[in-house]
């Protein structure tokens, strides 16, 4: 008498038995390459971000500390991933909590009035998407999730037009990835989009030339 096969063996056997034989050729003639980067691309990104209710500011690199300080005037405390340069917040007057060593707790991040300031890995202009790959200036995923206010700094050279180019830019796709397109939202009530559910309800984006 034989024992019944385990689920893995049986499923694989059934897939092999049912499987179509012919190999499939995948045509990839969709647009993958980007047009030239430039001001038009930045404008497109701004348009798409604002369409999804993010607040966008643009500045020169030298003005970043002033712009961030202005964005955070009503914010008593800022959480920072380990790799965000201290210079970014040199003009900010509130408390700064750096996520290093033992790290910030969920309770720290959930406290009222906490904002988080991060960079990003790449931004997609066509869809207004910011991609975070847990790099040093973005940190752990919960940093950009629990606080109610996320300020994301995007360098112009991080902007690409389309998603295919963006995914190719990622150094290591097995790192935890978060793609963010606007503040938290839902379409569950009569299929109309409403901003502000569980993720940060305020998303500010600063685009640095």
């Amino acid at each position: 008498m034989s024992t019944p096969p385990d689920a893995r063996t049986e499923i694989l056997r059934r897939v092999r038995a049912a499987q179509p034989a012919a190999p499939v050729d995948v045509p990839r003639d969709y647009a993958a390459d980007d047009g030239p980067a430039g001001l038009a691309l930045v404008d497109l990104l701004v348009d798409r971000l604002e369409d999804y209710k993010a607040t966008v500011r643009r500045c020169a690199a030298a003005d970043l500390p002033a712009i961030l300080a202005a964005s955070l005037t009503d914010v008593p405390s800022v959480a920072l991933p380990p790799g965000v340069p201290a210079a970014w917040l040199s003009l900010y007057g509130g408390e700064i909590a750096r996520d290093s060593g033992d790290g910030l707790t969920v309770a720290d991040l959930d406290a009222p009035g906490v904002a988080v300031v991060t960079g990003c890995a790449v931004a997609v202009a066509q869809t207004g998407t910011l991609i975070l790959d847990a790099g040093p200036d973005q940190g752990r995923r919960l940093l950009t999730l629990v606080p109610d206010h996320h300020v994301c700094v995007v360098r112009v050279d991080q902007i690409v037009e389309r998603l295919p180019a963006a995914l190719r830019r990622l150094a290591d796709p097995t790192r935890p990835l978060t793609m963010i397109s606007g503040p938290s939202a839902t379409s569950d009530i009569e299929l109309n989009r409403v901003e502000g559910v569980h993720g940060p309800r305020r998303l500010d984006v600063v685009i640095v030339a």
Binding site: I11, Y30, D110, A134, S187
Partner: protein
């Protein structure tokens, strides 16, 4: 493996559809919601110049996955395991639920938070967990509405599509613990705020999260969840243990394939250029997110579906629900009429294939074959073709048994095979119909006739034969 769980329709479609059609409010809600989303989808799809190329690529990638499924499954298992995840396999709904229940019990917790997932709906996970004393809290807004109302989902993407804002307000006011019923309005932002407050502490304290996955990358063992509200990120990031239930057809060969599907899915489902949040994770990342990660690969009727040469294209489905939103039948009867967690056109071909026998046989008839679903499908599933194929299969299966329809067709075939027989039959019919012309009046059609022909006239007119045939007219016109 034949599928079990919530893909098996309890009632024949015509019976369930008649019940649902009696609800005028439901039809009003569905019409409003499906038309809103249709317009949005058309607008954002129209923006994409290479949409058709993306559809073709998406369909081909999924066909490629089906052609290489055994290898890709083994590759996925090896990669996910190497990244620190534990991979489990389940043949059907009962086995999948047992695996998940066992994993949750091992953690010693009695409450789990859930990301919206069709796979867990399909296997009936919430009910199975409840039976062993584990409470599963749905965190997607629409799933939460359905769970609080003690109802079942009626749409793939928006399970509470059958409720309007004031009905949702009433459900929250009467069923949501701790909500201030007197001040709660039916303003959508207020309802979203109520859900946020209701779930916040659970997100921050629950030890086990349960999810599905929109995509599973074979080469790296990566899973992806596409969502809007941030409830997904909460469940995927904050708990100590994460259990993901994934259908075996969710695989994509490589990370680069996401560049196609992450363009197709959001525009097709919510009509957005991109959904607010997409999360991707690969096994365990030290210091970031759950440190115990399980993946349950589920068959539940998928290998049965794969075995059908025509029907297997249903496994390309990425659960966007665009076909539901454009379907004239779905718009009128709603999701509950289909009985399965997969309603609408895709459900009409997926549910019968996954679960085989029983009332599901009526689902392929729940369509006008208008073809709108195929045009909307981002992975080009030829739903009308599969519907016709499944109807054919149903007819073939019952060829041995006697039926009035088959007897009528056989008689008709005998009469029509011979020209003289046919002409004689028409003459007889015309003579027989002569006294009825008075009743039929100028319309030339009967509106109601006695049983058994009433089965025909209950939904359509019975036209009387014309006064002369084309051949008779021709002969008369050309005889002189």
């Amino acid at each position: 493996m034949t599928g079990t769980g919530n893909v098996v329709t309890p009632l024949p479609f015509p019976t369930a559809a008649r019940r649902e059609l009696g609800d005028q409010q439901l039809r009003h809600n569905l019409r409003k919601a499906t038309h809103t989303i249709r317009d949005k989808r058309l607008r954002v799809v129209g923006e994409v110049s290479d949409w058709e190329q993306l559809r073709v690529a998406g369909a081909a990638i999924k066909d490629d996955v089906l052609a290489r499924l055994p290898d890709l499954l083994e590759q996925f298992e090896a990669a996910a395991t190497a990244a620190g995840a534990t991979v489990h396999w389940a043949r059907d709904a009962g086995e999948a639920c047992a695996v998940v229940a066992g994993l949750v019990r091992a953690t010693g917790t009695a409450e789990v938070v859930k990301v919206k997932s069709m796979a867990t709906q399909e296997i009936g996970l919430n009910e199975a967990l409840e039976a062993v004393g584990i409470q599963a809290v749905e965190t997607d807004l629409a799933e939460l509405i359905v769970q609080l109302a003690d109802d079942t989902p009626s749409h793939i993407l928006v399970p509470a599509i059958h409720y309007n804002r004031s009905q949702i307000r009433d459900i929250f006011a009467s069923r949501m613990l701790g909500v201030d019923a007197s001040s709660l309005t039916d303003d959508p932002p207020a309802l979203a705020e109520a859900a946020r407050r209701h779930l916040r502490s659970r997100f921050l304290s629950t030890k086990v999260g349960i999810s599905g996955a929109n995509f599973a990358i074979a080469s790296s063992g990566t899973l992806a969840v596409v969502e809007s509200e941030g409830n997904g990120r909460m469940c995927l990031t904050l708990p100590e243990t994460l259990i993901s239930v994934v259908g075996i057809e969710k695989l994509l060969p490589s990370f680069a394939d996401l560049e196609v599907f992450l363009q197709l899915l959001p525009r097709s489902s919510t009509g957005e250029r991109m959904n607010p949040y997409t999360s991707l994770w690969t096994g365990v990342t030290p210091g970031d997110g759950p440190q115990t990660v399980h993946i349950v690969l589920v068959d539940n009727g998928r290998t049965d579906t794969l075995a059908d040469e025509v029907g297997r294209q249903a496994l390309r489905c990425i659960r966007c629900s665009a076909c539901l939103n454009v379907c004239p039948v779905y718009e009128r009867v709603g999701g509950h009429a289909y009985g399965s967690v997969y309603p609408g056109p895709i459900g009409a071909i997926l549910s019968p294939q996954m679960s085989g026998e029983g009332a599901n046989r009526t689902l392929p008839y729940a369509s006008t074959l208008c073809g709108a679903c195929f045009d909307a499908c981002p992975v080009r599933i030829d739903i009308p073709q599969v519907l016709v194929h499944l109807r054919q299969r149903g007819v073939d299966d019952s060829r041995g048994r006697p039926s009035a329809e088959r007897t009528a067709m056989r008689t008709m075939s005998y009469v029509m095979r011979d020209r003289r027989r046919y002409a004689a039959a028409l003459r007889t019919a015309r003579r027989g119909a002569a006294p009825l012309r008075l009743v039929a009046g100028r319309r030339g059609a009967l509106r109601r006739v006695p049983w058994p022909l009433s089965a025909w006239t209950s939904v359509r007119d019975a036209p009387l034969p014309p006064k002369q045939t084309f051949r008779e007219w021709w002969t008369r016109e050309h005889s002189s």
